[in-house]
């Protein structure tokens, strides 16, 4: 009987271990040290899955119609394709072009103006924004705590039928941290597993000379706030980083975005004003009016002729990571269909 008890205990322990499998953070070798403090929120497979469910669940919005994925689609590297500005609840138009989501453990702050200083706190912004989900955070937590299918999940993961706001935010952050993109052709070339075509190679050299100062490898951003000279948009009058710091030196500065997966994330710029990469390259290579604090590196048009621009685009397409885009671990969880 005792022996049987022992075996049962071991089996139960094993089952427990399986259900609370810790997940190793994905640190691609070529990447620097992440800024996210994983010790404060150790990755766990079942918590990542829970965060993924939150990400795809419209229960986060006031009328249960808009999920994070409404504007951050996995097939567009979690950006919002074909929309200059994203639309949220009641088809209201948002303030900015929804950014792509990946490699967030390396970002020192979030939003295109850097208003959010920690990945855990990021989800609060779209939930409460009246044009996005328009919902009170405490109400989101009461809604999910009242939901029977979540209660079962919370019991499994946290051994209690309800969760706190902090637990919700940490679970969401875990899913976002799992979105690592480092399997593009560029990465294969760097590892010596593939090679660039002649045109891609030419584009890479031009990129290194003219673009890499801000779009630094291997993350393809230096996370600086820069006024790239596109000028204030005429409808929203979005002043960028200035909104946060109220410092006139920060007028019209926006975060340098990563160029990874850029093929999938059109349109471009904070207000989505350029529909194609061609338009973007043409802008940087042409003379345009300067603002007081346009970045010095962009005071003169980049010396890129039409062929150079095409070559750079052919290199930028090497930053597409199809493993990331089609990773079933990132997609809508089929388990949600049952409910």
């Amino acid at each position: 009987m005792n022996k049987l008890g022992c075996i049962l205990l071991i089996c139960l322990g094993w089952l427990w271990l399986c259900s609370h499998q810790s997940a190793t953070p994905l640190f691609p070798k070529q990447f620097p040290k992440p800024t996210y403090d994983f010790a404060s929120n150790p990755l766990q497979k079942d918590i990542i899955d829970l965060g993924r469910r939150f990400f795809y669940d419209p229960i986060l919005s006031k009328n249960n119609t808009i999920s994070c994925a409404s504007c951050h689609s996995p097939y567009n590297a979690f950006a919002h394709v074909d929309h200059e500005l994203s639309h949220g609840i009641y088809d209201r138009i948002g303030f900015r072009n929804a950014p792509a989501l990946f490699n967030l453990a390396w970002a020192p702050y979030f939003m295109q103006d850097g208003a959010i200083h920690h990945l855990d706190m990021q989800a609060l912004a779209p939930i409460s924004d009246s044009n996005e989900m328009n919902e009170a955070f405490d109400h989101v937590i009461s809604k999910i705590n009242a939901d029977t299918s979540y209660k079962i999940l919370f019991k499994k993961v946290y051994h209690q039928p309800h969760i706190s706001g902090a637990q919700f935010l940490k679970a969401m952050a875990q899913f976002l941290l799992s979105l690592v993109s480092a399997e593009s052709k560029y990465d294969s070339v760097m590892r010596g597993k593939a090679s660039f075509s002649q045109q891609e190679k030419k584009g890479y050299l031009l990129f290194q000379k003219h673009c890499a100062n801000c779009h630094q490898e291997p993350l393809f951003t230096n996370y600086e706030f820069v006024n790239n000279g596109i000028g204030e948009d005429q409808h929203l009058h979005d002043l960028g980083r200035y909104r946060v710091t109220k410092d006139s030196n920060d007028l019209l500065k926006f975060k340098v975005p990563s160029l990874r997966n850029i093929e999938f994330t059109a349109p471009y710029m904070h207000d989505g004003r350029y529909a194609s990469l061609k338009d973007v390259l043409r802008f940087y290579a042409s003379a345009h009016a300067m603002q007081a604090n346009t970045d010095k590196r962009l005071h003169n048009p980049l010396p890129l002729n039409a062929n150079d621009q095409v070559d750079i685009i052919s290199f930028l397409l090497c930053l597409s990571d199809k493993h990331f885009i089609f990773n079933p671990q990132h997609a809508f969880p089929k388990s949600m269909l049952k409910n």
């Binding site: 200083h117 609060l124 706190s164």
Partner: protein
């Protein structure tokens, strides 16, 4: 959220320690109405954060409260019991959440963002929240926060303690309302120079007494 929060420090082997009550009081806890000039002000929300509660003896630190942050609801009274081993002659605390805590990511209990004391569009805790209705149609909506230069609204407060019997930290709302009225500031929702000014008024509205 906190109706009447009694927190007891359990000490297993305390020989000479004694329990100290610190009572955070506002007039709004007995009645939500305040009469100011010709105006009847109804307090709808009054919440603030106390952190880093410390006791001192001849400028030497003798006690630091380990529980982190207390979210005080001014519409009810909050009493804290501290178990203190040594005598002390002054008390200090921080009004607000400092950058070390702010940068920790999602935190629970009194610091959980479901308490409505966290900004959403921009990261940071609201240190002090006051919302009122007014018969003169001058409702206040003051969300005072900001923890970094140049809009740091965190306040350090210190008081001498003459008797260590039941201590009451009094928040004089009327005094604050008078100062706010003179500035004609009715709505603050983000870190700003105005928020820094109001934060200094808030700090001036605290006093200490023995009950």
């Amino acid at each position: 959220m906190i109706k009447s929060l009694l927190l007891l420090f359990c000490l297993c082997s305390c020989s000479q320690s004694f329990s100290q009550q610190i009572h955070f009081k506002t007039k709004a806890s007995t009645s939500p109405y305040i009469y100011l000039d010709q105006d009847t002000v109804e307090i709808k929300v009054l919440k603030y954060y106390i952190t880093k509660l410390q006791l001192w003896k001849q400028q030497q630190l003798v006690y630091t409260d380990q529980r982190g942050a207390f979210l005080i609801d001014g519409l009810s009274d909050a009493t804290y019991y501290l178990a203190i081993k040594k005598p002390y002659d002054s008390l200090s605390f921080t009004l607000g959440i400092d950058s070390a805590i702010q940068r920790k990511g999602a935190l629970g209990k009194d610091l959980d963002p479901t308490n409505g004391m966290y900004w959403a569009w921009q990261s940071g805790y609201i240190h002090f929240k006051l919302e009122t209705h007014s018969s003169n149609n001058k409702p206040l909506q003051l969300h005072i926060g900001g923890y970094a230069y140049p809009f740091n609204t965190i306040q350090q407060l210190g008081f001498n303690v003459t008797s260590t019997k039941k201590i009451s930290i009094q928040f004089e709302l009327l005094k604050l309302l008078q100062q706010i009225n003179s500035q004609k500031v009715y709505k603050i929702m983000s870190p700003s120079a105005e928020a820094v000014l109001i934060a200094s008024f808030i700090a001036q509205s605290f006093s200490i007494s023995n009950e």
